[in-house]
């Protein structure tokens, strides 16, 4: 009876492990499917009655994210005169940050837009939820979600910051988009067209022009008609096309997020596989006699094998079913999480597509059955005679070519990993594929080999722990814990391996992060000498007027913005940075040849790497095609060998503005204090200017460095949180193994209690065994993870990592955490061991 209960408990744990993996997989699909559907329909609604759109074409690149030149508003009258056109609207969309009543900018999870809007009767799909649309120079309508988050109600005076500066408006309307009351994470401030033109600094230009049609007019005829009016600088496209492009771009982001989720699902499934493997191995050794008896009365070995696989199949099906249900929870939970931060996802019914279910089934059942394969094979090799003499069955199970297989797997894994990281065949897919598969094989190889040294390693760990106190082996409880961990090395190894994977990932990430951080810091310290950096915490950078105002301050000596644009160089898309010559006094850009002054002459400065690749030298000419199709032939004015802040290509601000009329945005501004000015005084002057731009963050060198590090740390925390899930499954695995150990050693525990071991010592013994297993797992994880992290860091391009740094603190923390993991995993089993009735235990078979 106890056996059945123990087995049930173990199966529940196993099922849970599969459920969580499958939930992540199916949740990722459901989330991306339903959000994509919702986003697509949102943009379709947003399109409203826009039949045609006039905009400037781009020469190359991503339609949705392109920086387009503007369209002159003067085109409107010509288009309006085309027969069949009912209305024409200017589309102006620029940055407009809402300032909260407390003076702080409203943080949004998307961009902060100011737009030109005619109201509900206009062409787009925006609706009025309360009040009315903005009319006149002092009125604004804001999307309801953002107004509420900022704390404004109708009639309030709202401060907004746009490209021309700060201005106050009266809030006259609350808007919605389609069925939602927000902007899908963006904040939307809607003005009438005249106000929009002035406040958003459009100066008679629009991002594009919307065209509505009269009833019965043929769209293609009107489209052709408008096209004849336009020079080849402009294009006229169907209204839904740009909606699709934008929706597609958002879908891409959602896909990336989905893939991230799938990545973690893969890790947790991989860990689950170990747990499943262990559970089946355990169940089989418990049923050894029963299985041998079946063999003795005539069951063939393949029947035994199929029986075990059948059980795995049933567990897999049940778990996958729960997993799909769990996926709904995962996807709803994540949506809720995003909405809580103001994303205002459109209300979406969870889309469960056939593909989701099929993938979930294949993954859930596949992992379960695959993991049960080896135990099933072993079960089928139990000789019938083991029914009478169980000890023979166990020796039959010990035979394996584990060592050879382990070494081969390990070597193949390392080879593939190195191939993927350093030779990098076939681009991103090759790198990820080869190194991913290599990592999996590496883990399997280590897991397999760890069986061989689980016993000596456990002995060593118990001799050291709990350093610096009395080592475990000096007490009976500790000695028993140590011997028990060594007693079943295979089980100890498999259990520890599950933990190894999660902790290996953690240490890999930690090494990479530390290396990136260190390289970044080194480079920043070496190359950046600015006194102030101004960055934006919004999505759209800083309006150029800010840099102009800073430059006008007498307290500052040198000021330069950094702007960037996309262009094609030699047929490849590159980011081109634009600065003024002052930047070179602020940022150390070390020239190996040429001069800084050449930049002012309209020449281009090139980093040594691309210069070498394209065999460029000072005086050679580079053909650059900007996104709007303009081509410029630029002369190389200098070659530099550091690209920490500057990127690979640098031109002057003039070159960029001549090439493109897309609204300019500054990524950051660097400034140096004028000679003789007090640092405090300068700071105050800068802060006064910055007050008008709430999304601007003024930082001195130390603050800038810290904020860059904080950003990296935030990213790390997210990654660690997801890995904690995988570690959680491993904890289940340890608890599972310990529960089994307690069950198997019932009689021993009975005897120990009979001859005078206290409950406390018995619990301690169980706890210490769990700690030995988890410290073993953590040591394996660190041994695998740190070199892996170093390898990845070396493989990363030099612009990311220049030196390797090993985060000793994190590694020590991981080891200490593993002790905690052991203690947690042992809580249940230890309690059960202590609860055993001495007499019953001692007479247990």
């Amino acid at each position: 009876m106890r056996g059945v209960v123990a087995r049930k408990f173990r199966i529940i744990l196993t099922v849970f492990a599969i459920v969580s993996g499958v939930a992540f997989v199916s949740g990722a699909f459901m989330l991306t499917d339903s959000v994509k559907t919702a986003i697509n329909s949102l943009f379709e609604e947003l399109r409203g009655d826009i039949a045609l759109e006039v905009r400037t074409p781009i020469a190359f690149g991503d339609e949705a994210r392109a920086e387009r030149d503007t369209v002159p508003a003067a085109l409107v009258s010509g288009i309006a005169a085309v027969p069949g056109v009912s209305s024409v609207e200017l589309n102006i969309e620029r940055e407009s940050t809402i300032v909260k009543p407390n003076g702080k900018p409203l943080k949004t999870s998307g961009p902060a837009f100011g737009i030109s809007w005619l109201g509900q009767n206009g062409l787009d799909g925006r609706t009025i939820l309360a009040g009315r649309e903005a009319r006149g120079p002092n009125e604004v309508a804001i999307d309801r979600v953002s107004a509420k988050r900022a704390g404004y109600v109708l009639g309030d005076t709202v401060t907004l910051v746009g490209p021309t500066g700060k201005q106050e408006f009266k809030l006259v309307g609350l808007t919605g988009t389609g069925k939602t009351s927000g902007g899908g994470g963006a904040s939307i401030c809607a003005f009438d067209p005249v106000t929009a033109d002035a406040f958003l600094g459009a100066k008679g230009f629009a991002d594009s022009i919307y065209v509505g049609l009269e009833k019965g007019a043929s769209r293609s005829t009107v489209q052709k008609e408008i096209a004849t009016l336009l020079t080849n600088k402009y294009e006229v496209i169907p209204g839904e096309q740009s909606a699709k492009e934008i929706a597609g771009a958002i879908n891409d982001i959602i896909d990336i997020f989905g893939k991230l989720l799938l990545g973690f699902a893969a890790i947790s499934l991989f860990v689950s596989a170990f747990l499943i493997f262990n559970t089946f191995a355990i169940i089989i050794s418990q049923r050894l006699r029963e299985l041998a008896l079946l063999r003795a009365i005539g069951a063939s070995s393949s029947q035994i094998r199929l029986m075990i696989l059948g059980e795995a199949l049933i567990i897999g099906i049940v778990a996958t079913g729960f997993g799909i249900l769990g996926g709904i929870g995962v996807s709803k939970g994540i949506t809720a999480l995003f909405n809580a931060t103001g994303a205002a996802f459109p209300p979406a019914t969870i889309a469960i597509s056939m593909r989701t279910i099929i993938v979930a089934l294949v993954v859930g059942i596949g992992v379960t059955v695959t993991a049960a394969m080896v135990p099933a094979l072993r079960a089928s090799k139990i000789p019938p005679v083991a029914a009478m003499r169980p000890e023979i069955g166990f020796t039959a199970l010990q035979h394996s070519k584990r060592l050879v297989a382990g070494v081969v797997t390990l070597l193949v894994g390392i080879t593939l990993l190195c191939l993927g990281l350093f030779i990098q065949p076939g681009g991103a897919i090759g790198i990820l594929g080869a190194s991913g598969l290599g990592a999996v094989l590496l883990f399997l190889g280590v897991a397999s080999l760890s069986t061989s040294f689980a016993a000596p390693a456990s002995a060593a760990i118990s001799r050291i722990l709990p350093f610096p106190l009395r080592p475990m082996t000096r007490s009976v409880a500790g000695r028993l814990a140590s011997r028990n961990a060594q007693r079943t090395p295979r089980r100890t190894a498999t259990t520890a391996s599950a933990l190894m994977i999660g902790l290996a990932m953690v240490s890999t990430v930690a090494v990479i992060a530390a290396s990136v951080q260190k390289s970044f810091k080194d480079r920043l310290q070496g190359s950046v000498t600015a006194d102030y950096y101004v960055t934006s915490d919004g999505f759209q950078g800083l309006p150029p007027v800010f840099a102009e105002k800073l430059a006008a301050l007498s307290e500052l000596g040198k000021v330069s913005p950094f702007r960037a644009s996309t262009a094609q160089v030699n047929g490849e898309s590159k980011q081109i940075g634009a600065v003024n010559v002052d930047m070179f006094s602020i940022v150390n850009v070390k020239l190996t040849s040429g001069s800084y002054a050449s930049l002012a002459k309209g020449q281009i400065l090139v980093h040594r790497d691309p210069a070498r690749d394209l065999s460029l030298s000072v005086g050679s000419s580079v053909a650059i095609t900007w996104q709007n199709g303009t081509s410029s032939n630029l002369t190389v004015g200098g070659i530099y060998d550091d690209s920490a802040v500057a990127g690979n290509w640098l031109v002057s601000l003039d070159v960029l503005s001549q090439a493109s009329t897309a609204p300019p945005v500054d990524f950051f501004i660097g400034a140096k204090i004028a000679d003789g000015v007090d640092i405090e005084e300068a700071r105050i002057a800068v802060e006064i200017v910055a007050e008008e731009f709430p999304s601007a963050q003024v930082q001195d060198q130390a603050e800038f460095q810290k904020s860059q590090e904080d950003q990296l740390n935030q990213l790390l925390i997210i990654v660690y949180c997801l890995l904690v899930f995988a570690i959680g499954i491993a904890v289940l695995g340890i608890a599972n193994t310990m529960a089994l150990s307690v069950y198997e050693r019932t009689r021993e525990f009975g005897l120990l209690r009979a001859v005078g071991m206290s409950k406390r010592h018995l619990k301690r013994s169980v706890r210490w065994e769990a700690i030995i297993v988890s410290v073993f797992g953590a040591s394996l994880g660190i041994t695998v993870g740190v070199p892996l992290g170093i390898a990845v860091s070396i493989a990363l391009p030099e612009s990311f990592v220049t030196g390797i740094s090993i985060p000793i603190n994190t590694i020590v923390a991981v080891l200490l955490a593993s002790i905690v993991v052991g203690i947690i995993a042992a809580i249940g089993p230890a309690r059960r061991a202590a609860k055993l009735d001495v007499l019953e235990a001692i007479s247990a078979i």
Binding site: S475, E748, A754, G756, S758, L839
Partner: protein, 248 residues
């Protein structure tokens, strides 16, 4: 029937001890008002047919099980007043056990198994005594072996040595020869006899084997939870004779 009033000088004693399972109609009295004592330095065998309550009596005397009514004493200590922790210490320090199925810890060596109760108590080991015990059971050459590397007889000798090692007030042996062939069994019994004669140990042994019982100074017979008879300095024929009477 020769039931005496237990004296506090006895190594172990039961006073009006009853152990009752179930209630009302389904009530089973495993022990029914048993009063018996075991004098120090004596080897006592408890005999009786299956279900007579002999194992229950021993378990209750050893502090492994609790009585429904009555009291048991070890060296004058009333066990009914002790909690789990105190009972654990009592078992560790005052009581030794020898089980039918050896019950050694498989991960510990023979020596570690022998010193287990001492190690658990954190007591310093009296090397001279340990050597005497080990040589008494002739295990000198087997001390570093694990139980799986020992024969059944050797394992039971380890168990005997373990019981002796902590110099307990009393040793309880539950069918110690039940799993052994007659030669190994005789060896174990003579070790136990030797422990009583030469080392002054007190032993209480539950057995159903008249030959084993003949090694004892005194045999107490139980039937249906009651003490029904007693023989001092028994021979195996005497014991067999009494058993036959009980069975009929």
């Amino acid at each position: 029937m020769t039931s005496t009033t237990p004296t506090l000088v006895a190594a172990a004693a039961a006073l009006n001890a009853s152990k009752i399972y179930g209630k009302d109609d389904s009530e089973v009295r495993a022990l029914d008002d048993v009063t018996v004592d075991f004098a120090e330095g004596q080897f006592t065998a408890i005999m009786g047919p299956s279900g007579s309550g002999k194992s229950t009596l021993m378990h209750c005397l050893a502090g492994l099980d609790t009585l429904t009514l009555g009291k048991v004493f070890i060296d004058g200590t009333d066990l009914s007043g002790l909690n789990d922790r105190e009972l654990t210490v009592l078992r560790r320090e005052q009581v030794g056990f020898i089980f039918q199925a050896y019950n050694l810890i498989p991960t510990l060596t023979a020596l570690e198994n022998i010193t287990l109760p001492l190690d658990l108590g954190g007591v310093d080991i009296d090397e001279a005594w340990l050597n005497e015990v080990v040589s008494a059971v002739k295990l000198e050459s087997r001390l570093t072996h694990r139980p799986s590397e020992l024969s059944g007889g050797q394992q039971q000798r380890v168990a005997v040595a373990r019981a002796l090692a902590s110099r307990p007030k009393i040793i309880f042996a539950d069918e110690p020869t039940g799993n052994l062939d007659s030669r190994s069994g005789a060896e174990i019994l003579s070790f136990m006899r030797h422990a009583v004669n030469d080392l002054g140990q007190t032993i209480v042994m539950v057995t159903h084997d008249p030959v084993a019982a003949a090694y004892a100074d005194r045999v107490v017979f139980l039937a249906d939870g009651k003490v029904v008879d007693e023989v001092t300095s028994p021979t195996s024929e005497q014991v067999l004779d009494r058993m036959k009477k009980l069975g009929s």
